[in-house]
Symmetry: C2
């Protein structure tokens, strides 16, 4: 998977805010809805919603609506592609490895 520069920059920005990064890390561990995430941090529900939206727009999260709930989950391929692209741009060598099975 190949990321365009605009997508790459969008992701970089999405990762730049500590609060948003922490939210993302929680979602790496497991798929969650907005309330679940909200319960984990000291920010308002709209702020959480906003961050999730930003992460989704950046292409990092998948959004799946189930009734009144809305589940967000990490798009591992995109994250891998981002890290790969970053390594390339920073001249940091590495061999990518497939993520572990679910």
């Amino acid at each position: 998977m190949k990321l365009a520069t605009e997508e790459f920059d969008r992701i970089s920005k999405a990762l730049a805010d500590p609060q948003r990064r922490e939210i993302l890390q929680k979602l790496v561990a497991r798929r969650m809805n907005c309330s679940d995430v909200h319960a984990m941090f000291n920010v308002s529900q709209p702020t959480v919603s906003h961050h999730l939206k930003e992460l989704a727009i950046a292409g990092i999260l998948d959004k799946e609506k189930q009734g009144q709930f809305c589940f967000y989950q990490v798009k591992a391929e995109v994250l891998s592609a981002y890290v790969a692209e970053l390594q390339k741009r920073l001249g940091v060598g590495a061999i990518a490895v497939a993520p572990r099975m679910k």
Copy 2:
């Protein structure tokens, strides 16, 4: 090398601005002074100076003064450590490889 969360976030922010990221990429290719960088982009000299300072503060660049010139060069170990930490936090598996010799 291990990065504290504050250092990690600082680097993330440093990478989040496209202009600064591009400057960094040029420096990955070769060590340069402020004027050299300035000649490559359509931003003012103070802006370049500012970005170089931010990258240095983030620990990504080394600053070396030689007479009236000021050379900046990438700290490869820090970039590697950043990518490694990012992979860890994002759950993206990879095997790091030593950077090529100069």
